[in-house]
Symmetry: C2
Subunit: 521 residues, 2 copies
């Protein structure tokens, strides 16, 4: 049985072509500039990590094995104990293992690892305590990996995130700042105000409210939060059923309910819907106070939101950019305080003309317990993440053609004798800041102009230069404006007229200036 | 036995901090600009691939399992035959398997996969043949992974490459261009002319010469090439021993020799050393002709080098940038024609003051057989790769301090009441194009100025702004020039004089202008 070497990608993985890369790079560059302008440093971490150093924080998962690409290190190494020392067997021999590795599933877990690794020994020696844990603000971008069994359309197993985080502060000024940064970054990327909204909530407020209606153990609270988090996908009716007696999904499988009383369910739904129709953050804060201010956890959460609101107001970030949303959950189990999410309000049409909404394009929140799991020291942290590929897809569909990769000035190949001259001209153009490519296709098809023009067209080349023996003898080049040519093709029927508008003979000595004018430089 | 969650990285992997990232990004940005100026498009491919789609092209390895991080796909999928159809068992049931996956070990194998995947069906249908295989020029960068058992100092298992390739042409103008691009890119990154040299050879010349001394079977030829490739590491004497009777290495293990006669060995060594003392490419070409022009393979190779030389000469790339080196091999088994390598001539001192050479920082060559293995169609290709992390290390050591991440203007935190004002000022600075960060460290250590200044120092902040109650009342800020402060510290003994030079009270209305002047903007 002969197995094939079939050229193909793994399901859920994809190649990024020049146009999509241009979008991705625009997002990273513009948002990165904003992150840096707030003082975040650019860091990077490995794609591959020890599974136990990443921890078990996948959304909706309680084990790192689920939803993650993991395998055993090919290198056998000592097993370490929780104190960092090597594990030994009864004969005092070091216990060895091929350690489980995992491809990172987000950039937050590696951040916790970076921060913890750098302080681990100092904490063990008692030199670093809660009171002097250092502040660390970094941004990072790159691919993350999720082994999602059911791969929905438009979802990928390898996708890019662009995160910024502040580790080492409990001050929600950092959370307020995070929301402003998301807003600034999206506008820098090209989203207009009014086409997105930063939605903010606080886990503490909901947690306090749930306590006040009798949901006090963590497991039950977690179950309630997970149901509420599904609101966008399943709607209010099914949320109510899952909080109560359970339901059947579309395929007929039974989903167990949490068995809450209908009275409790109504109270919860009422709480989540309280902001409906309210237009200001101040109104939501007042409603929060009415609903939950008797509970100390909720009180704390409301005070945090008040502080954030007042900073935003002082800095001019009103409700056209940032709003409170009492039903906002965020999937990650590690959030402990303020949570935020950016919803795109753009509606785009896909290839088949169907309307498509994009929903959440960024998310984040405070995770005061994450570093503690690795470092044994409670170090509070907060941050947010832009879904780069999701945002790129949004820009591509909502603003088609706005960001595309521009091709080089194309220099056609006609004459073997002139090849060095083609390269000399290309270099002259490059020295003048004009990108230029000499066609170097397979020798057998060299002089086929159609093939060359198809190549230039595919690459989105704005201009083409033709130099044959006659032109060379006269010291001129024929320059064709490919972009204009395409535009005029639709309206011009007279071929001769079209050519005279699109094509021009230019002396080589004036070529650079002519091209610059044509390129609008 | 409790296992630890120890915050640590896998051996051979590392975190990239802000300074190193600045270097990496400078390299990618500047070289990327050069690549684009020659018409190469920016593409990206997954980090993870089917192992059989990557092929078996690791240097010095004949199987993809060695030297590569690989594991089984957690998803069971049909096994495909070489024609792309599903494999079926005796009962016509599709045979399923958990396919072997591998983390990419370079960016060339994925390029061959991209090119082949996009044409696979067209080739099967007979629509694409050798004569009309399209031209494709792309550049790509990102991490690659090698599971090197013996990890030498300064080597990593995850490192970045920055490649550009031209697929679809047998014209060595593309090879000549590749060498010029490497030279342009390195100078754009900041290497001065004379501190690097692009070395070029042609496998065909050596192959032809080896044929002429009786080494005609491919296996033997490959073995000879692998020995010669070790020249830099082991030197002439050991190369001779390995071509002959073998030798013992430093650890006393026996390395088998190839058993060539001493006459043959002398001829080979003579050939490899022929360029010693020659200063022009023309002289080397003449020597090549004397030594090997009776062999048709060598003749072809020499003609290719002649064409490349003439293009370089026409475009002004003389021997100060590009030289021929008859002993240059390049490790990759897939090279079939011209090969190139950039050697850094810089000597830097490491932390311990020892001199360190960097050797090869870029490499590439023509690989006319690589696409064929996946596509079943002979499509010639050539390209080169910059070792990003190696070059970053070189720049860091050879030009210390030249590229470092600049921190933001630092706004110290003194007064809870003034926090919104701090953020307002930061925003004012950002709106004027000045990066600015308000200190937001752990509430418990908030007002400790020492801790704040240590933070600003670590981040390489150029300026710090202090506003306490008094300053706020007066509408001023105290601005301290941290950079100047450090410079003057070494020479100034009078603290009062130092402060007056370094510190200045500035009205808030003039703050932006003052900071811009201090920052040299």
């Amino acid at each position: 049985m002969e197995r094939g070497n079939i050229p193909r990608k793994i399901k859920g993985f994809r190649d990024i072509d020049a146009d999509l890369n241009e979008l991705r790079q625009t997002i990273i560059r513009e948002a990165g500039k904003v992150y840096r302008s707030y003082g975040f440093e650019h860091w990077d971490t490995p794609v591959l990590e020890y599974a136990d150093a990443l921890g078990k924080y996948m959304p909706d998962e309680d084990t790192v094995d689920k939803g993650v690409y993991n395998f055993r290190n090919p290198e056998e190494e000592p097993v370490l104990l929780a104190d960092g020392n090597e594990m030994r067997d009864a004969d005092a021999k070091v216990v060895m293992d091929f350690h489980p590795l995992a491809m990172r599933y987000d950039l937050t877990a590696p951040l916790a690892r970076v921060y913890s690794e750098r302080l681990f020994m100092d904490v063990k020696r008692g030199q670093i305590m809660e009171s002097n844990a250092p502040l660390f603000r970094r941004y990072q971008y790159g691919p993350v990996y999720r082994y999602e069994l059911k791969l929905l359309p438009g979802r990928f197993r390898e996708f890019w995130q662009l995160d910024f985080d502040t580790v080492g502060t409990s001050d929600v000024a950092a959370d307020a700042e995070a929301c402003m940064i998301l807003s600034d970054a999206l506008e820098a990327i090209g989203l207009e105000r009014g086409t997105y909204i930063v939605k903010v909530n606080n886990r503490k407020v909901l947690k306090g409210f749930l306590e006040s209606v009798g949901i006090i153990n963590e497991e039950q609270e977690g179950a309630v939060l997970r149901v509420i988090d599904k609101l966008d996908k399943i709607g209010w009716d099914d949320v109510k059923l899952e909080l109560g007696k359970g339901r059947e999904d579309a395929s007929g499988s039974k989903i167990d309910g949490l068995g809450l009383s209908s009275d409790t369910i109504e109270k919860i739904v009422g709480f989540l819907k309280m902001a409906t129709g309210l237009s200001t953050r101040a109104e939501v804060l007042r409603k929060f106070e009415e609903a939950a201010a008797t509970n100390p956890t909720a009180t704390e959460g409301i005070a945090e939101l008040q502080k954030m609101d007042s900073l935003w107001t002082k800095l001019g970030f009103d409700e056209s950019r940032i709003q409170f949303d009492p039903s906002l959950m965020r999937g990650m189990a590690y959030y402990t305080g303020p949570v935020f999410e950016v919803e795109s309000l753009l509606v785009a049409k896909d290839e088949k003309g169907r309307e498509r909404k994009f929903g959440s394009i960024c998310g984040g929140g405070r995770y005061d317990g994450l570093v503690e799991k690795l470092l044994g020291l409670k170090v509070p942290a907060t941050g947010a993440s832009i879904g780069v590929d999701r945002l790129a897809e949004l820009l591509r569909m909502a603003k088609p053609g706005q960001v595309t990769a521009q091709g080089p000035v194309f220099i056609a190949y006609f004459d073997d004798e002139l090849q060095p001259e083609y390269y000399r001209i290309a270099r002259m153009l490059r020295d003048a800041g004009i990108t230029a490519e000499v066609y170097v296709g397979n020798a057998k098809g060299f002089k086929k102009v159609n093939k060359q023009m198809a190549y230039a067209d595919k690459k989105n080349c704005p201009l083409a230069i033709f130099i044959g023996g006659n032109e060379a003898a006269k010291g001129v080049a024929t320059v064709k404006n490919l972009k204009l040519g395409k535009e005029l093709e639709a309206t011009t029927t007279d071929k001769q007229a079209w050519i005279s508008q699109v094509q021009q003979e230019v002396p080589l000595t004036e070529l650079v200036d002519y091209l610059k004018k044509q390129l609008g430089q």
